[in-house]
Amino acid sequence: MKQNRASAGDTILRLLTFLMAVGVVGLIIWVGWEMFSSAKESINAFGWSFVTNRVWDPVKQNFGALPFIYGTIVTSLIALVVAGPIGLGVAIFLNEMAPGKVRSLISFLVELLAAIPSVVYGLWGIFVLAPLLRDYVEPWLEKWFGFLPLFQGSAVGLGMLSGGLILAIMILPTIAAISREVMAAVPDSQREAALALGATKWEMVRVAVLAYAKSGILGGVMLGLGRALGETMAVTMVIGNRPDILPSLFAPAYSMAAVIANEFTEATYNLYLSSLVEIGLILFGITLVLNAFARLLVWSVARGPKGGHLV
């Protein structure tokens, strides 16, 4: 009897959890499907050229998403390149180097960064970051690295560089907090193993901590990237909102999330609206693929090496 009741409970639990798991998958599919049907008109009208077309002209009813894809990817990459190393450095400092008091103060401040509303970041970007970039950083970059197309053109202050830097600040707490969390989970026995072999502090961090925690760190970076891709408000306030594809990071651009937010209320006819939804669909797809890719990476790393030379 008892046996039966226990296994009945197990069956119900298994069914319930299974249904929840299926529910999550179903929700994703449902969202995707709804967006797909709203984007249908635009998909039928433009086909694949929608993602390769660099013109966005509502007046001529000509819609291409490439400028927004470009702006989103470039700003997110800037954010990753800047916030990745800094976030990791902050995490290493907090977890492995800083004495107790400094540690709690700084981690408090870093986590506070995550609590600032993005519109405030946007305002700060307009009034502080953009003038700073325009007057100092961009001229400096042009002077020393101006041979690269990335750093040419007039210094305006509002553009992909400021968008990327704002994003960097916004995703820094995510990367730092998650990296720190996984580093804190590294057992002390690992640190001692490295130290006892004659590792310096930094070598210990590299061999025992980073190697052990790298999949989790990667997860943190990916989550940061996910946040950067979807961030709307702060980016639209500083990126310049021009659907152009220019090589210079100083140049104004536009992002996928920003164009949807800005033009949704202005979309006066169906094809216009449908095109905006298709951009949303693409953003949805990119984040989905990115996350799937990140998970795969994390899994393959977490499974452990069969031969890598990691030191």
Partner: protein
């Protein structure tokens, strides 16, 4: 070759809590010296002073002298010291993100050795010394975590041996292992003393009796008695040693 250790008036603290009190002790080269005593008496703290791992614990400090072949270790760079004084811990702690091979050569790579052939040769030599070579030579690329507990501990021994220390500290290296794996480690220790000075902490008195040339009995942070193992077990000078050996406390 092994090096000798001379400990003079060694004191150690965790914060305000003094865990070692005025230890004086001679540890001869190429012998196995066992440290025994009840839990919490300072055995681990003592061996961790010898490679200055004690200094890495926040709030911990030590005072006194430890001479390694006559040279005070507190005058040395701790990072350098730890390449001369290796350590094996209670729980096997291979680097899980590394292959078996990479675990063994980790210390050598830290020392800057990059030559593939030399690394390879050193890995084989260390694994042979740790009596692990025959079991793993076909799967050096597998994760260290794919080994059994006893194999993992021998991997850690091989890792410690690879940097060619002269002293090997072992803090209860077999306490997490089954009897057969324990026996293998003990045989290994007897092999290794030809080339190394070995200090082994154990709470297993039979183990001390089986492998140690001399045995030191610690109690409440003090060294109560240190002498040839047979003497400590058969004919201790101190009442407290006798009480502990005969199981009257501890």
């Amino acid at each position: 070759m092994g090096q000798s250790l001379t400990i003079r008036n060694l004191n150690a603290w965790y914060g305000d809590n003094q865990t070692l009190k005025g230890i004086n002790m001679e540890i001869p080269a190429n012998q196995v010296t066992a440290i025994i005593g009840p839990s919490g008496c300072g055995k681990s703290t003592f061996v961790r002073c010898i490679n200055r791992m004690h200094d890495t614990v926040p709030g911990a400090r030590a005072a006194g002298e430890i001479l390694l072949d006559g040279e005070n270790i507190y005058a040395k760079d701790p990072v350098e010291l730890r390449r001369t004084v290796g350590m094996v811990f209670q729980k096997p702690n291979p680097f899980p993100a590394m292959s078996i091979y990479d675990n063994v050569v980790a210390g050598l790579k830290l020392n800057g050795l990059r030559n593939k052939q030399k690394l390879r040769a050193a890995a084989e030599k260390s694994l042979r010394m740790a009596a692990l070579w025959d079991e793993v030579n076909e799967r050096l690329n597998y994760s260290g975590m794919s080994l059994s507990g006893g194999q993992q501990q021998r991997l850690c021994i091989a890792r410690a041996l690879a940097v060619e220390p002269s002293v090997l500290l072992m803090d209860e290296p077999a306490s997490a292992l089954d009897p057969i794996a324990t026996l293998r480690i003990e045989e290994l220790i007897l092999e290794l003393k030809k080339d190394y000075t070995i200090v082994i902490v154990t709470h297993n008195m039979q183990q001390a009796a089986r492998i140690a040339d001399s045995t030191a009995f610690f109690l409440n942070g003090e060294l109560i008695e240190h002498g040839p193992t047979s003497e400590i077990f058969m004919n201790p000078k101190e009442k407290r040693t006798e009480d502990y050996i005969t199981g009257r406390f501890g």
